[in-house]
């Protein structure tokens, strides 16, 4: 964030309403790149909103983003949360990790501040019965079944190996995949695990190779999935590899080289590529980088917050929270509505395949049904192109 506008002159202060929105994600440590990506998404949304000269309660609104580094540490969660609350934020986008979001969420709940995460996928987050917690991203128990059923129908494996990185995310996703496969009558090998810092997967893969599975699923991030895929091919495992959203990135090509070709993976929501082309272009223009993963969701989360404020014509959390719960917003990642728990309704899931060094969407899975990507795009094109943000006057 290098080109923030200078603080507004004092004279405007009377008419200007400053609305602060918090964003928290790890900006240091092993997944700092994802954290920064998330922050960029939120930052982009804030700038757009400011450019639109939104008026709430008769005042011109200036949105400010307070970005914090939660270091991936659960015990930092509540502290950051409190810091936001002390700074009187109107709402929070984040956190990135479920393990941090959960302890932070109770602090937000006590203060009545809404939080919308674009990347915490652990079901538990919204199962706590808190009214202020929302997510624009799919849950592990939505995404897992999606990729698993795709594997089951497209590849018809008899035996699948499931590996995870022993994190809340990877393990949770792996468990959902396993459940779906087992339910479909497919055998699953005993779970193998690495860690979020694993680079050497040879031993695990060798063992798996000996059991001759027909497909391999890995729940974890690209930094570990890349080496896993590469080493799997080196060992001569020729079957299909599948991943969750953590490894559903183009980085996989850099990390695994030629071995990357042909893996499949899922993303919660619609693909970054499918995200409004405006988002993609703006992101690229502003940050001189491709969005990595969850930035469309944090971007949307930010917009959803703002949209709810506009609807309620108030930036007071107590007033706009009800609007947030029943929001309907066409975002970069598709249409966003929340169910009673705060989860995204009918969250789309997209299945990708690595082709020629880029992940290409294959299918969209929504409500258990699979639609070919081309068909999805066609049908989307049929309806008038969704503006990135719902106009406030449309009631």
């Amino acid at each position: 964030g290098k080109n923030e506008p200078a603080p507004a002159p004092k004279a405007d202060a009377a008419q200007e309403l400053i609305v602060k929105i918090g964003h928290a994600a790890p900006l240091t440590g092993g997944i700092a790149h994802l954290g920064k990506d998330n922050e960029n998404g939120a930052r982009l949304a804030i700038e757009e909103a400011n450019a639109r000269n939104i008026v709430i309660d008769g005042k011109k609104v200036k949105f400010e983003l307070l970005a914090e580094d939660d270091e991936e540490k659960p015990d930092r969660g509540p502290i950051i949360a409190q810091k936001f609350i002390d700074a009187k934020v109107a709402g929070v986008v984040g956190h990135l990790n479920s393990g941090v979001s959960i302890p932070a969420s109770t602090v937000y709940a006590q203060a009545g501040i809404p939080m919308v995460t674009g990347s915490s996928t652990n079901p538990k987050l919204t199962e706590q019965g808190l009214k202020n917690v929302f997510r624009t991203v799919g849950r592990d128990d939505q995404q897992g079944p999606a990729i698993a059923s795709y594997l089951a129908t497209e590849y018809k494996p008899k035996l699948v190996a499931v590996i995870d990185d022993a994190t809340a995310y990877g393990e949770g996703l792996g468990t959902e995949v396993e459940k779906t496969l087992t339910a479909a009558g497919i055998k699953v090998l005993p779970r193998e695990k690495g860690s979020k810092d694993s680079r050497d997967w040879k031993a695990v893969l060798t063992k798996i190779k000996g059991k001759k599975p027909d497909a391999v699923f890995y729940g974890g991030m690209d930094a570990t999935a890349g080496p896993l895929l590469k080493q799997g091919r080196e060992l001569g495992i020729k079957v299909v590899f599948a991943f969750g959203d953590g490894a559903c990135t183009n980085t996989m090509k850099d990390l695994a080289g030629d071995a990357a070709e042909g893996f499949v993976c899922s993303q919660a929501g619609i693909p970054v590529q499918a995200a409004s082309s405006k988002f993609l272009a703006d992101y690229k223009a502003k940050f001189n980088a491709e969005p990595i993963q969850y930035s469309p969701f944090t971007y949307d989360s930010t917009h959803v917050l703002i949209a709810a404020m506009q609807k309620a014509n108030s930036a007071d959390p107590a007033k706009y929270l009800p609007e947030l719960a029943k929001i309907s917003h066409n975002g970069a990642s598709g249409k966003i509505e929340f169910d009673e728990k705060g989860d995204r309704k009918n969250a789309e899931m997209t299945i990708f395949m690595m082709k020629n060094g880029k992940i290409e969407p294959l299918a969209i899975i929504k409500g258990g049904a699979s639609v070919k990507y081309e068909d999805f795009i066609k049908s989307a094109a049929a309806t008038p192109a969704a503006p990135a943000v719902t106009a406030p006057e449309k009631k």
Binding site: D75, K83, E171
Partner: protein, 356 residues
């Protein structure tokens, strides 16, 4: 005559000092809350880490045993609390029952770790304790299969806060016109525990056992020749240190409401050790200073780097988190380079340094 000696000969000054400090400590959270409740939370976490540092100080500072797996005991305490006071097993025991159980469990783990490894010296012990810490964490992370005990990496949520009757430590309450928020209540509780732990530490240090620890640290062979059962005395250090960790862990679980194995990783052990070393191994006050400093410095940087850059350059030049980490790293180095025995070393450690 040292300052403390002077105080001893002047009880009036001593007591007025004590009263003054007590008042300051009692008023502190309200003062902090004015700057932001986040500072109360930061303080609470700092006190929690001070408890850990004081526990580790017994092992490292008093007995001279390098322990890189100390966070495991914190974890044991936290998990004991979480399992006995959460929907996980639908148990909701009161905290004054669980905390001692947690301390005891941690203590047992301390002995389990200590017993086979105490013959090891220096860095070999460090590695074994490191391994032990990792083993404990891996079990936390995996004991969801085949029977679900810890819920694995998903962690345990909705852990009960401390409650006495209908008085809950997590709720806001207005008393005498003052707003007692959850963090403020925990602050007082933590403060009480901290004072107890300090007293215990002070008494241990100045006791037959404390002298034996010091003797072992100085020269194990000579200590044995004096009839000190070094194995037993070292185990005692491990057990004591571990129980403090266990208590802190229980409090952490209750305050946080959610725990997962991520909170008990090696880096945390290293952090607690840094607090002990940086503050001044073996000196209780030094250790407290170290713990507070390492807890507050990153938060202070978090609050100052961004505004400072803006006021200096009008905009952000380097991302604040990068500056924060850089400054933190540099601060660690500089503090140690200029005060190698720690910021406030024990007299003994100062001598050791002067010796060379």
């Amino acid at each position: 005559m040292t300052f403390t000696d002077k105080l001893k000969t002047n009880p009036a000054a001593l007591w007025s000092g004590v009263v003054l400090i007590a008042c300051a400590l009692i008023a502190l959270p309200f003062a902090l809350a004015m700057a932001g409740t986040t500072w109360v939370r930061v303080t609470n976490l700092a006190i929690l880490f001070t408890l850990l540092a004081l526990g580790l100080n017994i092992v490292v500072g008093f007995a001279g045993l390098l322990d890189l797996g100390y966070i495991a005991f914190y974890g044991v305490g936290a998990y004991v609390y979480a399992l006995l006071a959460s929907p996980q097993f639908n148990l909701h025991l009161p905290f004054w029952v669980i905390l001692p159980i947690g301390a005891l469990a941690a203590c047992v783990f301390g002995v389990l770790l200590g017993a086979p490894t105490l013959k090891l010296r220096g860095d070999y012990l460090a590695i074994v304790t490191l391994g032990f810490g990792e083993i404990v964490r891996i079990f936390f992370n995996n004991l969801s299969q085949p029977v679900n005990i810890t819920n694995g990496p998903q962690g345990i949520s909705r852990i009960d806060p401390f409650t006495i009757g209908s008085f809950s430590f997590s709720q806001n309450e207005v008393l005498l016109g003052l707003n007692f928020s959850g963090p403020i209540k925990y602050y007082y509780l933590l403060l009480l525990v901290l004072i107890a732990v300090i007293v215990i530490n002070l008494r241990l240090e100045d006791s037959r056992i404390g002298r034996a620890w010091q003797a072992i640290r100085e020269d194990e062979v000579a200590a044995q020749a004096m009839g000190i059962n070094t194995t037993r005395i070292k185990l005692l250090a491990f057990a004591m240190g571990a129980s403090f960790g266990g208590v802190a862990g229980g409090m952490f679980a209750a305050m946080q409401g959610f725990i997962s194995p991520e909170s008990f990783v090696l880096v945390e052990s290293v952090m607690v050790l840094s607090m002990v070393v940086l503050g001044g191994m073996g000196n209780i006050w030094g250790v407290i200073v170290g713990a507070l400093l390492l807890s507050f410095v990153p938060e202070l940087l978090r609050h100052t780097v961004d505004p400072l850059q803006r006021s200096l350059f009008g905009r952000l030049i380097v991302e604040p988190e990068v500056v924060r980490m850089l400054l933190f790293g540099l601060a660690l180095m500089l503090m140690m380079l200029f005060r190698p025995a720690g910021l406030w070393p024990s007299k003994v450690r100062q001598r050791e340094l002067a010796d060379e």
